[in-house]
């Protein structure tokens, strides 16, 4: 790496974010442990990991909200500790849950943030970002009157208002309905190219869709830094979930399944439930479906199980004793675990579905399925009404 020799540690001009051996302790516990990475101009980098993995801590250090215990971080060539104001000027930040001043109007708030960031043509810039996130029709409404999705848009707008080279988004899609999630993802993709973007998420498919590169973080360490394709491959492992009528003999079906061509592994879960490992799961599923029906068993479910973030985690962290999971690798993120941890993709879909009322199917598909074709479970399509309902807002 070239250095200008002025001691600033300015890397090559293309490197917008340069993080070296970043460590942060909360008391004796390291929240970040020797993290190093770089992000180039126009690149979208995803931080992927469960809550408490250190994603937010890393972002807070990059945005100058808290200093590192050790190590160095440069944003747009500025040290986030030594040249904090310059670094902050070059950064747009959306903290988790998008905290906003509820007593201000959308326009008033964005104007205020623009003023703090020293924007010259405030009126133009504020109108530009409001149009960009499609909030201009609510410009004079109080933020307290906006729905969660609209607030999130305001949060993103304030991160863009000074047109910063670096944008840091902490969980930008959390708590949104599928329509909004799609919009936010589209927006982020659009912004990449001009801006260097770091976003955190715990939804694997989201990272796949938006990010050029993904850093998997666990227990404060980067456990995998992979190009998208390789992560995606890991995300589409050949696992199949099969549920047949409970009146059949599980052991017999299990034995029969073992013999089906393409099936590499069978685990019997009882009550007609099975989990299969398969080589080429599409063809294998077709074969199983045909055979099950032929035999007159009732077929309730036959689904390709996507490897969840947790599964990938367990793979990636298998050699690490610090991995904080008691369950075996075979366990998917079932309801209990999701409720307890509240962090995994499937769990999220369920939590939010409960909250949103009707978004269950849409969100589930959107969050858990990179491509819809792999999900054979019947989902009544409900997404169409998302926009209308959302526009009304809830006070």
């Amino acid at each position: 790496m070239t250095s200008p020799g002025n001691g600033d540690g300015n890397g090559s001009p293309e490197v917008m974010i340069d993080v070296r051996h970043l460590t942060r302790y909360y008391g004796p516990v390291p929240a970040l442990d020797d993290v190093s990475f770089q992000a180039r101009r126009g690149e979208i980098v995803g931080f992927l990991g469960p809550n408490g993995a250190g994603k937010t801590t890393a972002m807070r250090i990059l945005t100058g909200f808290m200093p590192p215990s050790a190590g160095q971080a440069l944003v747009a060539g500025y040290d986030v500790v030594e040249q904090s104001l310059q670094a902050r000027r070059a950064t747009g930040y959306l903290p988790e849950s998008a905290p906003l001043y509820a007593d201000m109007t959308v326009y008033g708030y964005l104007d205020f943030m623009a003023k703090l960031r020293g924007v010259a043509d405030r009126r133009d810039e504020v109108e530009r970002v409001m149009a960009r996130v499609s909030i201009d029709h609510r410009a004079d409404d109080l933020i307290s009157q906006l729905s969660k999705g609209l607030r999130q848009r305001v949060g993103i707008a304030q991160a863009l208002v000074h047109n910063p080279p670096v944008i840091i988004l902490d969980e930008p899609t959390i708590g949104l309905d599928p329509q909004q999630i799609r919009e936010v993802r589209g927006l982020v993709r659009e912004l990449g190219g001009d801006h260097t973007i770091i976003l955190s998420t715990h939804i694997l498919s989201e990272a796949e869709q938006i990010c050029d590169r993904v850093l998997i973080i666990n227990s404060g360490r980067i456990v995998a830094a992979d190009a998208l394709e390789r992560l995606a491959q890991r995300g589409h492992g050949g696992e199949i979930r099969l549920v047949v009528g409970a009146d059949v003999d599980d052991a017999a079906v299990g034995a029969w399944l073992t013999a089906v061509e393409g099936v590499t592994e069978v685990s019997v879960e009882g009550d007609g439930r099975f989990r299969l490992g398969a080589d080429r799961e599409r063809e294998t599923r077709a074969r199983i479906a045909g055979a099950v029906i032929q035999r007159g068993w009732q077929l309730y479910e036959l689904t390709a199980v996507e490897l969840t973030l947790e599964d990938i985690f367990l793979q990636v962290t298998a050699s690490e004793p610090a991995a904080p999971h008691g369950e075996g690798p075979g366990d998917g993120p079932d309801a209990d675990e999701a409720a307890e941890a509240g962090t995994w993709d499937d769990g999220l879909a369920e939590d939010e579905a409960a909250e949103a009322g009707t978004w269950d199917d849409g969100l589930d598909e959107d969050a858990a399925g990179g491509d819809g074709h792999e999900d054979d479970t019947a989902h009544p399509e409900t997404e169409g009404s998302a926009g209308d309902e959302e526009e009304d807002g809830d006070a």
Partner: protein, 242 residues
């Protein structure tokens, strides 16, 4: 400067949007008016003297200012908006000073309303009024308000709980106010007694009622104000390190 004004402006908006200011102002004016009416009704003949009013306003401010300032930093810490503020290119002292200034505007407005009572007193007074003490008294009130609000800003920086901030503030300013009374205990002749008498708020404040502006009193309040604001900025800074 631009940042400071931006923060002050926003805070003034927030102050007048929140019910706290209106409730506290109404309560203050009602209480003050009641006591004032009692005072005017009793005194025969009515003497246009600022001293009792000054004492009354001072005592009430001890309770009013921490309530006005409790929101300033505590609420931002609780709601998380502080994170956005502190990741903007704004310096800590600008945040603290801007917020304090907005509270100063609120208190100044509230105190301006008490001029109505002064007018009433003037109309009732039998023997005219000396405007020297009036002017110096209001200077004293504003200086006291500034110092009390600075202490309140400090306690608001210390916690994300507004109620805790207010109570802590009230406790702190009460101690400062009553220090000269405690000085009686060790005896005014000892060094400790003198120090306590000097550090106390009430002595310096009531001096303004006599119509003279003693630079020592002014210096005292300015020092207290800047000291508390400086500490508040440092507390905010340490939040980054926690």
């Amino acid at each position: 400067m631009r940042n400071l004004m931006a923060i002050t402006q926003r805070e003034i908006g927030a102050t007048f949007a929140s019910p706290i200011f209106w409730v506290v102002s109404a309560g203050f004016l009602a209480f003050y008016g009641l006591v004032f009416a009692g005072y005017v009704g009793q005194a025969q003949p009515v003497q246009a003297s600022m001293r009792p009013l000054l004492q009354l306003i001072g005592t009430v401010l001890l309770f009013v200012t921490p309530i006005l300032s409790m929101r300033l930093l505590a609420e931002e810490q609780r709601s998380g908006t502080l994170e956005l503020l502190m990741t903007s290119p704004v310096q800590d002292w600008q945040v603290v000073t801007g917020k304090w200034l907005s509270a100063m505007v609120a208190v100044t407005l509230m105190m301006a309303l008490t001029l109505v009572h002064v007018l009433v007193m003037l109309s009732l007074a039998t023997a005219g009024m000396d405007f020297g003490p009036l002017f110096s008294s209001y200077l004293g009130i504003l200086l006291l308000g500034a110092a009390l609000l600075a202490v309140g800003t400090l306690t608001s920086a210390l916690t994300e709980n507004q109620v805790v901030a207010a109570f802590l503030g009230i406790m702190l300013v009460m101690v400062l106010w009553f220090l000269p009374f405690l000085a009686e205990v060790p005896g005014t002749q000892t060094a400790l007694g003198k120090a306590m008498a000097y550090t106390g708020l009430s002595e310096h404040y009531l001096n303004f009622g006599q119509g003279l502006i003693d630079s020592r009193d002014v210096v005292y309040f300015v020092t207290l104000t800047f000291g508390a604001l400086y500490l508040a900025a440092r507390v905010l800074e340490t939040r980054r390190w926690r």
